[in-house]
């Protein structure tokens, strides 16, 4: 179950343009962890008080040649907490709480057509998920968008493992100029809606657009949500999103416990 452990940084790899891959041993928890579950990670002695949430990116087996029991997170330098992470070298100690939250579950229909939609660093949970799908002999298509060509970490890795990756960039520096919902709309047009299952992770406006597009077509859609978090395990009530209850009433549910993965139709955006 969930554990709180201090662990050394094994590697902290600069992927360029502010994207980093951090690796640490997590023997006790890696086996039980699901893709899109997350860790709360802190750096003792720093001036960052609260830990920050990060999806697990690589579980044992996800990336070839990585040590047994080690996991990876893919992160982007955003503010103080992520800048601090980026300053760590191998050997530094991080304090890690996890696994937390509800991750992705593969579609129950064996013939489902799986579509992954990632916005920039929102691709973080997909490597572990793809590896899991692969192990059960399943494939996925990916739509991967960002502002510009450099903001698509691990693109080559995804290209090797997906049945095609449609790239979009706001500035047209790679793939189609546009946003992820453009290729998504195309895909959904021809497809048998009941067969398609979309998994999306990225900034909230993107997730809202993906939710809208899939709901309109009656397509199953799981979103991995973001929210500022203080605790990560359900007690501060800081990370809520508005959801719709049966009957239409609005409630606030916790991204860290009821999420981060929620069905698109539950959200009251």
């Amino acid at each position: 179950m969930v554990q709180d452990f201090a662990t050394p940084v094994l590697r902290n790899v600069d992927l360029g343009r502010g994207n980093w891959l951090l690796e640490f041993p997590a023997e006790g928890v890696a086996a039980a962890m699901r893709p899109a579950q997350f860790f709360m990670i802190g750096v003792p002695g720093s001036d960052v008080l609260l830990r920050r949430p990060f999806s697990v990116c690589g579980l044992p087996g996800t990336f070839a040649d990585r040590p047994d029991g080690a996991v990876q997170i893919l992160y982007r330098v955003y503010g103080r907490g992520t800048a601090l992470l980026a300053s760590l070298r191998a050997g530094a100690t991080v304090q890690v709480l996890g696994p937390l939250g509800r991750g992705f579950t593969p579609p129950s229909r064996p013939d489902a057509r799986i579509v992954l939609v990632a916005g920039g660093i929102g691709s973080a949970p997909f490597p572990a998920f793809l590896a899991e799908l692969e192990r059960s002999g399943r494939r996925a298509t990916m739509i991967y968008g960002a502002r510009t060509a450099g903001d698509l970490p691990l693109l080559d890795w995804f290209r090797e493992r997906c049945d095609g990756v449609s790239v979009t960039t706001d500035d047209g520096t790679l793939g189609a100029r546009g946003v992820v919902t453009d290729p998504l709309a195309e895909m959904l047009q021809d497809a048998d809606g009941g067969r398609v299952h979309v998994y999306a992770c990225g900034p909230s406006p993107m997730l809202a657009a993906v939710a809208k597009a899939t709901l309109a077509k009656g397509v199953a859609c799981d979103l991995s949500l973001e929210a500022p978090m203080a605790c990560g395990f359900g007690v501060c009530l800081g990370c809520v999103v508005p959801t719709r209850r049966e009957g239409g009433a609005i409630a606030y549910e916790r991204v860290c416990v009821e999420g981060p993965v929620m069905r698109a139709e539950r959200l009251a955006w």
Binding site: D4, L49, A227, C231, V235, L237, V240, A251
Partner: protein, 303 residues
């Protein structure tokens, strides 16, 4: 010799002086993966209102230097669900359970107190008076000695069980509100609640929190809370439960020496789920190291 950590907050005996602060420990059960509740002197629940409340829209929290602002908006399951669903489960654990109570009117406070009074397994009621009084133009109950006196008196009548009043620090002289609560029969005073603050998203030129303002907690406020504890200690006779930025046993010692019989650990629970237990164990280690038999020998010994 194992050191004696037990303290008496009025008639409430705690096995150790460390409780968890309201709103930072859920209803207690969320922490079972990390600790035994019996390792704690007590737990204080999330604030309870007559009806369930859904709370404020997000963004509700933001980190600030050595602290955080929160504007949760008192989201809670309501007193009835607490009594029927949470309290029975908590009763299984050997710790003092304190129900934190709030209302928007005096009548709401009274309603919740009446329902809680005498509930089996409940050790005390703690009044959160840092709430706007909707009947009095949104003025904060706890910021006005007269209003605080009225709500304390009403709750005192409504509940025979131990009644703690949790003071707001957003006042010119905390001794005035402390005396008002004591005069109306509070069995103990908890202090402090959060300080009102605000954070600005400078890129958007908008408040970070949807609620505009929030309550500041965490280490940043500790020197202010210790000072208020010391001031109140010399103004009233009833026991004090001190809090504000306690992260370690050393921090707890500041409050205990300044006159707190017990302490509450709040924001630290988010940073490290075992924080409150670590504080209690650290106090035990401190007593052992210094050859002190009981924590009670230290209470209020600041010179």
């Amino acid at each position: 010799m194992t050191p004696d950590l037990a303290v008496d907050v009025g008639t409430v005996r705690l096995k150790n002086p460390v409780l968890t602060a309201s709103g930072t420990f859920g209803y207690g059960l969320e922490f079972l993966p990390f600790l035994k509740l019996s390792e704690l002197g007590g737990i204080v629940t999330k604030g309870l209102s007559p009806k369930p409340r859904r709370g404020n829209p997000p963004q509700r929290i933001v980190e600030t230097p050595a602290g955080m602002l929160n504007a949760i908006g008192l989201q809670n399951v309501g007193v009835d669900a607490f009594l029927s669903e949470k309290l029975p489960a908590l009763r299984e654990h050997d710790t003092a359970v304190v129900a934190n109570v709030f209302g928007e009117t005096e009548a709401e406070y009274v309603e919740v107190c009446e329902k809680l009074d005498g509930a089996p397994g409940l050790a005390a009621i703690e009044l959160n008076v840092s709430c706007p009084n909707t009947e009095a133009g949104g003025m904060i109950f706890g910021n006005d000695p007269a209003a605080l006196a009225r709500v304390t008196r009403a709750c005192r009548r409504a509940a025979r069980m131990p009644l703690w009043v949790k003071l707001s620090p957003n006042v010119t002289d905390i001794r005035e509100v402390a005396r008002a609560a004591e005069a109306e029969g509070a069995d103990a005073l908890s202090l402090v609640n959060t300080f009102v603050g605000m954070s600005v998203d400078v890129l958007k030129a908008r408040p970070v929190l949807a609620n505009v303002s929030g309550g500041l907690s965490g280490p940043a406020i500790r020197p202010l809370a210790v000072w208020m504890t010391w001031q109140v200690r010399r103004a009233v006779q009833v026991p004090i439960i001190g809090m504000g930025g306690i992260m370690t046993a050393r921090d707890a010692m500041e409050f205990i020496l300044a006159g707190a019989t017990a302490v509450q650990v709040g924001t630290a629970n988010f940073v490290a789920p075992r924080a409150a237990v670590d504080v209690a164990e650290g106090l035990a280690a401190w007593l052992t190291l210094h050859g002190i038999g009981s924590i009670r020998e230290l209470t209020g010994t600041l010179r």
